[in-house]
């Protein structure tokens, strides 16, 4: 009886130990696979988001609005780098599941995209709004892409800005994440308030003749034109300044091409006096931040006037 008992227990002990090893290995491998599956899924979301941003880019149109719906609550990480000829835009995502926020996914980078948003932009009801405005200064430099989760309340914006939002929202029929209000206290709670030429809001915009400053988080961002005004409102100061520098770098490279085109076209018998102005424009694109952008804007204005007067010999 005793021997039989020993035989039985040894078999079971052996089976339990081996079974436990197999079971724990299986659990470990499964956990690892689920973890990498989450990162893989988020990397796909980043790649998909990057692909979605291609049709969002403008061609000859003025402004564009797009709504992105995610399957899960998602954080979009917007990383901007100034290194290299054109700088670099990187986006990655993380999603929220029952276990909380996943790790940041593998990022997708591009040299010709300029996304203005908070460093970490979160979806609101799994939705993300994208406003795209071309930046023409004096020729098209690129598209200013504004990414935001919504819940903004604009108090007494300028007519231009109000018109942009009225058009993009199809006269208010579509929710584009921005409410227009005439008073701060009419804004819904938990909304980021933006005051135009007035105090009492989270963000203050001083605007005069299409240029001015946006004050937020104790910092002042300088803008020129409606596209950059909106970009400054919706971005973190670090992201805004970095993207401004990247846009200036692209403008510099485009300026060199237009300068060479002006020379080439002159050689074909089409005289223009834009070469020296374009040279000054290229030099002005070496900026240290939004404060220096004024010089670009100033030369761009004069270039535009001169170019418009060239008739058939227009360079841009």
């Amino acid at each position: 009886m005793n021997r039989k008992g020993l035989d039985f227990s040894f078999t079971w002990i052996f089976a339990i130990i081996a079974g436990a090893v197999i079971l724990f290995s299986a659990i470990y491998i499964t956990t690892q696979l689920i973890g990498s599956a989450e990162i893989e899924r988020d990397s796909f979301v980043s790649a998909e988001l990057s692909n979605i941003l291609s049709p969002v880019e403008t061609n000859l149109e003025d402004n564009k609005y797009s709504l992105i719906k995610f399957n899960l609550d998602t954080r979009v990480y917007n990383e901007c780098s100034n290194s290299g000829v054109f700088g670099k835009q990187e986006i990655s995502t993380a999603s929220k599941s029952s276990g909380g926020w996943s790790d940041q996914s593998v990022s997708k980078s591009s040299f010709n995209r300029y996304i203005f948003s908070r460093g970490i932009e979160e979806t609101n009801n799994k939705k993300m709004h994208i406003l795209t405005n071309p930046l023409d200064m004096p020729f098209k430099m690129g598209d200013v892409m504004i990414l935001h989760g919504g819940k903004y309340c604009f108090v007494n914006p300028s007519d231009n800005v109000e018109d942009i939002f009225t058009d993009l929202s199809s006269n208010g029929a579509q929710d584009i994440g921005v409410n227009i209000s005439s008073r701060v206290d009419s804004c819904p709670k938990n909304y980021t308030t933006v005051c135009f030429n007035a105090n009492g809001c989270d963000i203050k915009v001083i605007t005069r003749d299409g240029e001015g400053t946006v004050s937020k988080y104790g910092r002042e961002l300088i803008y020129y034109g409606d596209a950059l005004q909106l970009a400054a409102i919706f971005s973190d100061p670090e992201v805004y300044e970095c993207q401004i520098k990247r846009l200036a770098k692209r403008a510099g490279e485009l300026g060199v091409i237009y300068k060479n085109k002006a020379l080439y076209v002159e050689g074909s018998g089409c005289s223009n006096n834009l070469v020296s102005d374009l040279q000054s424009f290229v030099l002005a694109t070496n900026v240290t931040g939004s404060r220096d952008f004024g010089r670009i804007a100033q030369i761009a204005k004069s270039l535009e006037e001169k170019n418009d007067g060239l008739g058939k010999c227009k360079i841009f």
Binding site: T11, I22, E57, K140, I257, C270
Partner: protein, 174 residues
């Protein structure tokens, strides 16, 4: 005698059971291994096709949008969404700063469809040439989009637009 026989019998039966259990466990491990390999191969297969689909989707969009990018767009005369500025492209071709600018693209080329010319454009042969290649890699699938190729023509003293296409290629996933 009876006891000894019983002990012998019991011992060999116990060994047989252990062997049986070991075989079963090995079989389970092998089965687990095969299932894992199968699962991983399916997963990598779908990942591969998923990545390829993503890239194709991206390229389709990029081909459609390329004519409207600042480097390509023609804005010197009337607004035209699918007009490409050939003068800018030939000048851009030799700019080393644009090397690597069009990420994930293995081929980026603009070709004239009509009137037909031959050869790659250089500053010497332009505009009597056929194509301007900005990016040339290898192992790609190419996609095309028809556009108007515009330039300033000194002979007519104005803009000349001809029929052409943008060809873009992307590397397949191997």
């Amino acid at each position: 005698m009876m006891d000894l026989e019983n002990v012998k019998y019991s011992n060999s039966r116990g060994q047989f059971k252990i062997q049986q259990m070991v075989f079963v466990l090995i079989a389970v491990m092998i089965l687990f291994g095969i299932v894992s390999v199968f699962f991983v191969s399916i997963r990598f297969g779908s990942l591969k096709s998923g990545v390829e689909d993503q890239r194709k989707e991206a390229v389709f969009e990029q081909v459609r949008k390329m004519a409207g990018t600042p480097e390509f767009i023609w804005t010197s005369s009337e607004s035209c969404a699918s007009c490409v500025d050939m003068d800018k492209l030939i000048l851009l071709k030799n700019r080393t700063s644009y090397k690597g600018f069009w990420k994930d693209i293995s081929l980026l080329k603009v070709s004239r469809v009509y009137p037909a010319y031959t050869g790659e454009c250089t500053l010497g042969s332009y505009p009597e040439c056929n194509s301007i290649t900005l990016v040339q890699g290898d192992n790609y699938e190419s996609y095309e989009s028809f556009v108007s190729l515009c330039r300033y023509d000194g002979e007519i003293g104005g803009t000349r637009c001809e029929m052409g296409k943008i060809i873009m290629g992307f590397e397949g996933v191997k």
